[in-house]
């Protein structure tokens, strides 16, 4: 696969490389500074790439050589970038000249050659990436400080060319690279063959580059250009090697050990096969010899009587044969013993692989169960079932800590659950609490007991364990939101069942289950919140309904109050004319027969009576109109509505005499229900009258002004009854708020007024105190202006 791929890729990459080289060469022909900048920037990009890949794949790489070279690349790249910027003709660092660029170059090369030289020594050792990073940072900073501070030796003198220090450094650096190459190849077992080749080539290119740089006299010269090409190629090869190691073949690296183990196993197997065949061959040979012996025996029997001398010979032959058989048998036994040992070894290896596979299956199934299940009980049951069915454990159970007494209660179990009957396990410091399960819970990690029947800590359970065939057990603590809530314990029928790999897998299972528990808790919380929200919504709906019912009741009450008020008004208005009518009627009877009772007297009485009756009839019509529900909204003149209202109150404002003044600044028209508007005016005027009566105001006055303000009809009704106390002025529009006492006020008049003006008519009703009394202000949007 890889070979095919590389065969396919190679021409393409070769072509692009060539194209890049030609492009760069053309750039150098055009402008050497451009070429230098481009080639250095490419180098810096590749160096950055090396760092990024090496740093981010450092766990997969598991190769400190690349990590160190990667980190070094970042700093070498940084210095090279500075070198590029300092280059003659760029002008970023004026006043330094070509010496600075050359100094930076040398610093970069020192750092690079040193890191490549040092890297092989880190192979197979521990390297902390952060520490290496910090060391490089400090070193680079110091070097740069030396360069910019002028402490660093001169490398290039204009006119003279390169200084001996610079040339010497380049040779020294070349030797460093040679050393790097040598030591790297000494540790070739750490690298793939192709990677080894790539790195070797890269270092060789670096050496060649150095040599090219020793001979130039002009920073724009040809040897300089070649040197840069070689350096770029070197970086690119390192990059390739890293890609090869870090990205293309990580799996090879990861599974190399497994592969090796597998091939070893295979070769052992083959050897075994060979030996087996050999054994078989020997066995056949033996058979043949045995048959031969038989024939000889027969011959011997026949010859027994024939020759007595032959007996001795035969005996001798027999002994010899016997010796040979014994020898052969011994050989055979040895071979068989060896074979058995091999078989045991093989079975052990196979078992280990099998166990590992089983645990992998358990982990996989557990993870599926975690994804599937939504509640804790199902999850516990599932993982126990998986452990027993897929993991072939004798018993798996999950125990949860009882916060009250420290006992572990069985939450789920599978397998030989008879073991759990009357089982006492706690997390306290007692024999029942220092078993594998108790320990893992208390320590919040895991506990492996690979000799269940031999370990002293499992003594309380030795007998039970033997009955159920347990030889090893493992317990993993289960955590929920970081707190240990219990443990899962597994029992295996083999001693030393749990090895390091299995322990890691068990830990993984424990971590996954704990993660799932956290998820379940979160899910439960979310559901509870949702439920609470739903309940709250229902509650709110209910409250809204209650509120609506209350409002309906208020409207009803308001209507009844208005009705009562109106009936009072009618009674008041009619009392006087009724009295007059009564007097007219009685007078007729009183004067009958007397000279005064003539035609004229009668006519006058009748005419006056009829006039009063007409007036009363009109009054009752006015009231009836007010009580008639408005069928539709309509435009009405505000001052007409006010005069209408006052006619309904006629009489009420005569005793005590209340002077009503209407100031009409405008003649606005409102669109709405006139009777509702009248009801509002009635409420406000009646309140004013009641206040005037209660406070016995002399010279009582109510001033009604009508005007227009910004497309609004504005009516203010001001009395001189002293105003509303400040502590209740904010409450007068509240429902059921009244100052008149339970018999006289219902507390809904002003509430309904506000509802009518603000809700039904989209206006505003407000109150304030003036110097002499209360002033209500009604603002309603203008209807069609007449």
């Amino acid at each position: 696969m890889n070979d095919q791929e590389s065969k396919f890729v190679k021409p393409l990459s070769l072509f692009s490389c060539a194209a890049a080289l030609v492009g760069l060469y053309l750039a150098s022909r055009y402008n050497y500074l451009l070429f230098h900048s481009l080639v250095e920037i490419f180098t810096v990009i590749v160096a950055s790439g090396i760092f990024i890949i090496a740093w981010n794949t450092r766990r997969i790489l598991n190769n400190n050589y690349f990590l160190l070279v990667g980190i070094a690349s970042l700093f070498v790249g940084t210095i090279d970038l500075l070198h590029t910027l300092a280059y003659k003709g760029i002008g970023v660092f004026p006043g330094y000249g070509p010496n600075l660029a050359t100094q930076l170059w040398i610093v970069g090369r020192y750092l690079q050659s040193f890191s490549l030289f040092a890297a092989p020594f880190l192979l197979g050792r521990k390297l902390r990436g952060g520490l290496a990073m910090a060391l490089f940072l400090v070193t680079t900073t110091l070097l740069l400080a030396a360069v910019f501070g002028g402490v660093f030796p001169d490398c290039f003198v204009e006119g003279k060319g390169l200084t001996p220090f610079k040339k010497g450094s380049e040779y020294f650096i070349s030797f460093m690279f040679l050393g790097a190459l040598f030591f790297m190849r000494r540790k070739s077992e750490f690298f793939e063959r192709q990677v080894l080749r790539l790195i070797s080539a890269a270092i060789a290119l670096f050496i060649a580059a150095e040599l090219a740089f020793t001979i130039y006299t002009d920073v724009y010269g040809i040897s300089n250009m070649v040197g840069h090409f070689l350096k770029l190629a070197g970086f690119f090869l390192i990059y390739k090697a890293l890609i090869e190691t870090g990205l293309v073949r990580p799996y090879d690296l990861l599974f190399r050990e497994i592969k090796e183990a597998y091939s070893k196993l295979q070769s052992a197997n083959e050897e075994l096969q060979e030996q087996s065949e050999e054994l078989h061959a020997q066995s056949e040979e033996l058979q043949m010899q045995s048959e031969e012996l038989h024939v000889q025996n027969q011959e011997l029997a026949r010859a027994w009587e024939e020759s007595s001398r032959a007996e001795e010979t035969l005996k001798k032959l027999n002994d010899e044969l016997e010796n040979r058989v014994t020898e052969r048998t011994k050989e055979l036994a040895d071979t068989i013993h060896n074979l058995q040992l091999e078989i045991v070894e093989r079975v052990t290896a196979q078992e280990s692989v099998l166990r590992l596979n089983q645990l992998y299956l358990v982990l996989s199934e557990t993870n599926q169960a975690i994804v599937r299940t939504k509640d804790r009980e199902t999850l516990f049951n599932d993982i126990c079932r998986i452990a027993v069915e897929d993991g072939s454990f004798k018993l798996a159970w999950v125990g949860l800590v009882d916060e009250n007494n420290g006992a572990l209660n069985v939450a789920a179990s599978k397998g030989a659950t008879g073991y759990l009957d009357d089982l006492k396990i706690t997390i306290t410091d007692e024999p029942a609490g220092i078993g594998p399960t108790g320990l893992s819970v208390r320590e919040g990690s895991y506990y492996i007991c690979n000799d269940f029947l031999g370990s002293p800590i499992t003594r309380p359970w030795h007998e039970k364990g033997r009955t159920h065939g347990f030889r090893a057990s493992a317990s993993i603590a289960l955590k929920q939101e970081g707190r240990v809530i219990g443990a899962m314990t597994l029992y295996a029928e083999k001693k030393d069942f749990f090895d390091q790999q299995q322990v890691e897998l068990l830990q993984q299972i424990g971590a996954d289950v704990s993660f799932a528990l956290d998820n379940i808790v979160r899910e439960t919380c979310r559901q509870a919140a949702e439920r609470a929200l739903r309940e709250e919504t229902v509650e709110r709906l209910r409250a809204t309904e209650t509120l609506r019912e209350k409002e309906q009741m208020l409207i009803q009450q308001s209507r009844q109050a208005a009705m009562g008020e109106m009936i009072g008004n009618i009674a008041h208005q009619w009392r006087q004319p009724l009295n007059t009518l009564g007097l007219f009627t009685q007078r007729l009877g009183f004067f009958y027969g007397q000279p005064i009772f003539n035609q004229e007297f009668l006519d006058t009485s009748v005419a006056k009576s009829m006039e009063i009756i007409q007036h009363m009839s009109k009054t009752i019509d006015d009231f009836r109109n007010f009580f008639k529900p408005d069928k539709a909204k309509g435009d009405f003149n505000v001052s007409d509505a006010i005069k209408n209202t006052l006619s309904l109150l006629e009489g009420n404002f005569q005793n005590p005499s209340i002077h009503i003044e209407i100031i009409e600044n405008d003649h606005p028209v409102i669109n709405g229900y006139q009777n509702e508007f009248t009801q509002v005016l009635l409420n406000i005027l009646t309140n004013a009258r009641d206040a005037i009566i209660e406070r016995e105001i002399n010279d009582a006055r109510v001033i009604i002004t009508i005007c227009s303000e910004d497309d609004c009809a504005v009516v203010t009704i001001a009395d001189n009854a002293g105003g509303i106390p400040e502590e209740i002025i904010n409450k007068v529009f509240d429902p059921y708020f009244t100052t008149k006492g339970p018999q006289l006020g219902t507390g809904v008049g002003l509430f309904m007024s506000k509802t009518i003006i603000e809700k039904n008519m989209g206006g505003r009703l407000a109150v304030r105190n003036t110097a002499t009394g209360a002033e209500f202000r009604i603002e309603v949007g203008n209807g069609i202006q007449n």
Partner: protein, 145 residues
Amino acid sequence: MESKTSPKTSISMLFVEDDELILEIQASVLIAKFPDVVLYTAVNGRLGLEIFKMHTPEIVITDINMSEMCGLQMSGNIRALKPDTKIIAMTGKTGQSVRMNSDDKEFEFDNIIVKPVILKELFSVIDRCIGEIEQNASRLECSMA
């Protein structure tokens, strides 16, 4: 004092009512019914009080709710001037509510006529008042003699 300076031979009566039509009709009936009684009329409490101060009538018939000085106020003032004046109140409201409105003044009318006025009732109340006044006058004469 009155009896000393100008002993009265006839009874006088003051009728106060702010509704002029009622005033007219009721006055005409009262004149016809009590031809011997001198009748003064007034259209509000203030004028009524002025007339009372001028003529000190023995009987005062008054409406309660009036624009300028109500019947209660006027009656209070009259009582203060001459406590034995017979005051008959006419009201659209019931006697209870009249008392309620005036409880701070501790005022009580001798008689209350509820509107609409039934003339016979009014007449009998006036008759009774006249009777009481005449009795008092004769008692006073006796005591003087």
